[in-house]
């Protein structure tokens, strides 16, 4: 009864994966019927391209940067949401929206908020006299601001996800542990950092590992917000693979670029297995 599912997954995951490796060593193009083996040629030209280097750098900036924001923000939010209070259900619904909404639609919402002319953020800053009218920066039009915007939109999307995972972790800690700590005179900070934090390590790592995968492999936020621009400055590995491989018809280059996702995915899978294994043993 297991076989059909396993065959389906192998055909549609392992199959294309092998095909991607095959393409990466070939000169496959859309519309080109003949394939030639070209060895490491694709990798050589990719490694020399400046867009690729920017894409690698951005992929890591977005992934690491957003995970730092997410883990700090969601730890604070999880503490604040742990005890029941009136209206918690409604607030939980509102706070979950960024995670539940299709990411393309959340991103298009931000594109309007960060609009080059009618941005509400610019309006507020002008009203506060931070900028003169018409002189607020173009949030998605200048490389540094665009990078920061993409990073924050990624964080915005993942904070709810990470928060609910951390909340599940906190509720699983036996109640008498923080109580005993309080009796022994430990204050809020000591309880949080010296007692709860070590107990929460497995669950925090689960949240971070998923967060890394969701950010590192995502092209939607970049594609919608900036389409990789201005001048490829916000390009990430997946969006560059799409730009070259699908829009530019260069399947070989696109496949080779997307293969650069694999090493990190393997590390994450390994760490995930360790977390699962520990959970299995204890």
């Amino acid at each position: 009864m297991l076989a059909p599912a396993v065959v389906y997954i192998l055909l549609l995951v392992a199959g294309p994966f092998l095909l991607a490796i095959f393409y990466a060593f070939s000169d496959a193009r859309i519309g080109n019927t003949q394939l030639h083996f070209v060895g490491l040629e694709n990798f050589r030209s990719i490694l020399q391209s400046p867009s690729f280097r920017i894409a690698v750098r951005n992929s890591f900036i977005f992934t690491i940067g957003s995970q730092i924001v997410v883990i700090i923000a969601s730890s604070i939010l999880a503490i604040a949401l742990e005890q029941p209070f009136r209206g918690r259900g409604v607030l939980r619904f509102l706070m979950l929206l960024p995670w539940v909404a299709p990411i393309a639609l959340g991103a298009i919402g931000w594109k309007w908020i960060l609009d080059s002319i009618y941005s509400v953020i610019s309006w507020v800053l002008v009203a506060l006299h931070v900028y003169k009218p018409f002189s607020a920066p173009m949030w998605l039009g200048e490389p540094h601001l665009a990078i920061t915007s993409v990073l924050l939109v990624h964080s915005w999307r993942l904070i709810p996800f990470s928060t609910v995972i951390l909340l599940a972790g906190r509720t699983a800690v036996p109640k008498d542990i923080p109580e005993a700590a309080a009796v022994d005179g430990a204050g809020f900070w000591r309880t949080e950092f010296l007692i709860l934090l070590p107990m929460m390590t497995p669950i925090i790592s689960v949240a971070v590992l998923f967060g890394i995968i969701f950010t590192f492999t995502d092209m939607t936020v970049v594609y919608i917000l900036t389409a990789g621009g201005p001048f490829d400055s916000t390009q990430v590995l997946p969006s560059l693979a799409f730009t070259l491989g699908i829009q530019g018809s260069d399947l070989a280059a696109g496949a080779a670029i997307s293969l650069f996702l694999v090493p990190l995915l393997v590390i994450i899978a390994y760490l995930m297995l360790r977390v699962a294994h520990r959970a299995e043993v204890t």
Binding site: V6, L81, G169, T220
Partner: protein, 282 residues
């Protein structure tokens, strides 16, 4: 452990501040979608106007435009259709697989289950280039059937993982008794196990459906004509004509597409999280 009265008041204030700040930061784009949907263009596109209030009378023009002048309804239909078919395929593959893994003796069931779960981590951005060729060879370009074929490759693994947890909680004796009464193992599975697993099955249905609505990369790669889009691609790509963004209609579409998914997701949130935490929370 006696907290002073002023300390309690301070904590209370900090709590309210944290909750308010996060609600505003996370839900703001959706509030912005709501207010934008009902504003007249003359109000939206006058820079001097305070964007937080209605400077002109609210209007239903954008909604009328969305439902009569665009393919929005068609995209909702497409998404529902793909969602329903993918849910059915997912159940057909995942139910028997999850059941047999849950009943495998020893630790092998768990291990194979984790192995399948890990394939959920293989991202579309790694496979979309080779899959675009596979789809072309099958003659499924610009067809919703391309998505129906490919989506189970990530909905089945997570569903197997979620269902395994449910089936393990069902005592073996139940099926044993049914088999003593002359049913085959498959018969026992269909007649005894499935009926008492409805809540697990419902969880998988909702989760699969939300995954289908949230997917972007495959839909962007495989579909090209305006009539065949899913909500996630149609709204951000085809509601923009040339360089003209119909922000009112765009924001209305985002909100309308998001809210039903958000309601459903909220109902089953705790179960999804139990799936994500890979057993790190007991």
């Amino acid at each position: 452990m006696q907290t002073s009265l002023s300390g309690q008041v301070l904590r209370r204030i900090a709590h309210v501040l944290v909750i308010t700040a996060f609600t505003v930061a996370l839900a703001f784009p959706f509030y912005w979608m709501l207010i934008t949907s009902f504003k007249q263009n003359v109000d939206l596109y006058t820079m001097q106007n305070n964007p937080f209030i209605f400077n002109a009378k609210p209007t239903l023009d954008h909604l009328t435009f969305l439902f009569t002048q665009t393919r929005f309804v068609r995209w909702l239909g497409n998404t529902t259709f793909v969602g329903v078919v993918v849910v059915s395929i997912t159940l057909v593959f995942a139910l028997p697989a999850a059941y047999s893994l849950a009943r495998l003796s020893g630790r092998w069931g768990e291990r194979v289950g984790i192995g399948i779960f890990l394939t959920y981590l293989v991202p579309p951005t790694l496979l979309f280039i080779p899959l675009s060729r596979v789809i072309a060879h099958l003659g499924l370009q610009d067809s919703l059937w391309a998505l129906i074929l490919v989506y189970p490759s990530f909905t089945v693994p997570f569903s197997i993982w979620l269902l395994m947890g449910f089936f393990k909680a069902i005592p073996r004796e139940l099926e044993d008794a049914a088999m003593v009464d002359g049913l085959t193992r498959f018969g026992a599975f269909v007649k005894m196990v499935i009926p008492i697993s409805t809540s697990g099955i419902l969880t998988v249905v909702i989760f699969t459906f939300t995954l289908v609505t949230q997917e972007f990369v495959y839909a962007l790669t495989f579909l090209s004509s305006e009539a065949n889009q899913m909500i996630g691609t149609g709204i951000p790509i085809f509601l923009v004509r040339g360089d003209v963004y119909y922000w009112g209609a765009l924001m209305a579409a985002c909100l309308i597409a998001t809210l039903p998914i958000a309601f459903l997701y909220n109902l089953f949130l705790d179960r999804f999280i139990a799936g994500f935490t890979v057993g790190a929370v007991k």
